[in-house]
């Protein structure tokens, strides 16, 4: 262990000590393996697949954000040029940023609260499963059926349900161009998204409610916690912290990642970029203009924004020392 150039007596003493240390070190490793091997083995299947199919692509994308890459020629390193362009020259990106923040600040919290309240109420009803299915329907039938239904509501002609209603009520004379008028695009996207985004959070909360031991309610009843709202405040919410955290993180991720609904409502690009979001911008550069480098830079910025908000929520809702 690096003591070969020393005097002989010292070497003898040192090797003796080294031997002892290596013995204990070997022992420590043995102890370590003995203590943790099961833990690591159980994580290995997830870990390997996660590294290959999730982490590796993310790292490649991060690296690409420092390059100019059109998917035909090999990537060319350009340093921070993409980021400079993004913040200094790209006015449309700033529009997208504004739209996304507006969207996330409205849809995130409202969707989160609504899906919790719905889960809490439905969990107490008879025919719970039928209610749950009906409530989860938008998530099951994603795609075609969904877009037809909302188009039925917001169709920009006289036959659209809302226009028809308003015209008959004498509120408006001409149909409102819900999906074409820049003033209405964002509100329409927000309403449809709230409607569609409830499913997954709802289902997790529903499962979380079942995961609370009934004995907690019984024990609390002895302490005088009787009515539903006290139960909610003192038992349900504290006990469901893990699920609440999960719901919050996934609603942050999905609301900052808004794209599908925005594009199917308003198109890409939308009139006057009124429905342009960060992911729409990123998609535009990746799959229409074939500028993967620039697109990756947009994704990295979006990631930093999402992670910052996620971090705050983790701090607020974490159960342990995470």
């Amino acid at each position: 262990m690096g003591c070969s150039e020393m005097k002989t007596e010292e070497v003898i003493i040192n090797t003796h000590i080294d031997k002892k240390i290596s013995q204990t070190k070997f022992g420590e490793i043995k102890m370590f393996i003995h203590k943790h091997w099961v833990g690591y083995i159980m994580l290995v299947p997830f870990f390997i697949l996660f590294i290959i199919f999730v982490v590796l692509p993310v790292i490649i994308a991060l690296l690409l954000s420092f390059t100019d890459y059109n998917m035909l020629q090999p990537p060319k390193f350009v340093g921070l040029k993409n980021y400079e362009l993004l913040f200094l020259d790209d006015k449309i990106f700033l529009t997208a940023l504004g739209n996304t923040f507006l969207f996330a600040f409205i849809v995130g919290p409202i969707g989160y609260l609504m899906s919790f309240i719905a889960a809490w109420v439905i969990n107490q009803l008879k025919l719970r499963n039928a209610f749950a299915l009906a409530f989860y329907a938008p998530s099951i039938t994603s795609g075609v059926a969904m877009s037809v239904v909302w188009l039925y509501f917001f169709s920009p002609d006289r036959y659209g349900l809302l226009n028809n209603l308003f015209i008959n009520a004498g509120l408006i004379d001409n149909p409102i161009l819900w999906t074409q008028d820049p003033n209405y695009i964002m509100p329409v996207i927000i309403v449809i998204s709230i409607w569609m985004s409830l499913g997954n959070g709802f289902l997790v909360f529903l499962a979380g409610l079942q995961n609370i031991n009934k004995e907690h309610y019984e024990a609390a009843a002895i302490d005088g916690v009787e009515n539903r709202y006290q139960q909610l405040k003192y038992i349900t919410l504290p006990m469901m912290k893990p699920q609440l955290l999960f719901g919050a993180i996934s609603s942050i991720t999905s609301s900052f990642g808004v794209f599908d609904i925005a594009v199917s409502v308003a198109g890409l690009p939308s009139p006057n970029y009124a429905g342009h979001t960060i992911v729409a911008h990123l998609y535009d550069y990746a799959f229409i203009r074939f500028q993967m480098g620039y697109s990756s830079a947009i994704a990295t910025v979006l990631f930093i924004i999402t992670y910052s908000f996620g971090h705050i929520i983790m701090r607020l809702l974490s159960t342990k020392d995470e």
């Binding site: 870990f47 995961n211 999402t306």
Partner: protein, 295 residues
């Protein structure tokens, strides 16, 4: 006696009041779910619409003269295609079932280890998992294709399964439920000398039923409806799955004539999802009955 009678009638008044409140809750919730279930209703109603109603303008929500013609059309257009349609169904089933089983297995095993064994370094790993959840999937699609391609999975059915097993979202979901798992139960198992994997399978998994039942629904829905993976990873017509096959039917030259067949197929494709959802919700409900945990 009189006193008793009075209290009883008082109780009845209270009960009526309470019931009135519940009636209100039911009416409100029925109105709400009537609204959220519209797409499902539309899907069913459209499958039975005759051609003239399918292209009606302004569109009508409910079917007026229901017909089964769409389903016979579907059978006809399926029998005329080069690859038998049962092939797509089998492919879809195969991909979905294996993906769901493996993702449940890998996520529960990993999350249990992370929370309860907590070997050094895994807390950092968890932060990493959360972080990857937040990176836009659109940007990682192409790097992911490069990875899948370099492993040699392209144009193999495994390309639809293996990359979709380790999903950050799924891991996070299970991990949150494992946190609620009482340590006393694990200690009791250890004292009884139960092996690690026995403990995982016989003690942890039953208690985690609400968690993995929910995960099965999520994983099933995303895998069964996955249109993107077969589109980019599979060229071989015989390896394609239902969502892509459906678009092929609807996209062909005679697309207008086939709109009915597509509506019928879309409805049929949704039925297994409803079945899976319902049976998994039943499982969630059963949990407390079977696992006598004291938290």
């Amino acid at each position: 006696m009189v006193k008793f009678k009075m209290t009883k009638s008082k109780m009845n008044v209270l009960k009526v009041k309470k019931e009135g409140k519940w009636t209100f809750v039911y009416i409100f919730m029925i109105a709400l779910v009537a609204f959220t279930s519209l797409p499902l209703v539309y899907l069913i109603s459209t499958a039975f619409k005759p051609l003239n109603e399918l292209f009606l303008f302004p569109p009508r929500f409910f079917v007026k003269e229901p017909t089964l013609k769409n389903f016979t059309d579907l059978m006809l257009s399926l029998s005329s295609s080069t690859v038998p349609f049962t092939r797509y169904i089998l492919n879809s089933l195969y991909v979905t079932v294996i993906t769901v089983i493996l993702t449940v297995f890998v996520s529960t095993l990993g999350a249990y280890s992370l929370v309860k064994h907590n070997p050094p370094g895994t807390r950092k790993l968890f932060k990493f998992i959360i972080a990857t959840m937040m990176f836009s999937p659109y940007v990682t699609q192409i790097p992911r294709y490069l990875v899948v391609n370099s492993i040699g999975l392209v144009n193999k059915i495994a390309a639809l399964i293996i990359p979709n097993i380790a999903v950050s979202y799924n891991f996070f979901l299970i991990k949150q439920f494992v946190e609620q798992f009482p340590n006393e139960l694990l200690e009791a198992a250890r004292i009884d000398g139960a092996g690690e994997f026995y403990t995982y399978w016989k003690i942890v998994m039953p208690v985690l039923t609400p968690a993995w039942s929910t995960l099965i629904v999520f994983s099933y829905v995303s895998s069964w409806n996955d249109y993107f993976s077969p589109l980019i990873y599979i060229n071989n017509q015989a390896l394609k799955t239902l969502p892509l096959a459906l678009r092929t039917i609807s996209g062909g030259g005679a697309s207008i004539g086939r709109a009915g067949a597509v509506a019928a197929a879309t409805m049929l494709m949704t039925i297994p999802t409803v079945v899976v959802f319902t049976s998994m919700q039943n499982k969630v409900m059963e949990t407390m009955v079977h696992s006598g945990i004291k938290g």
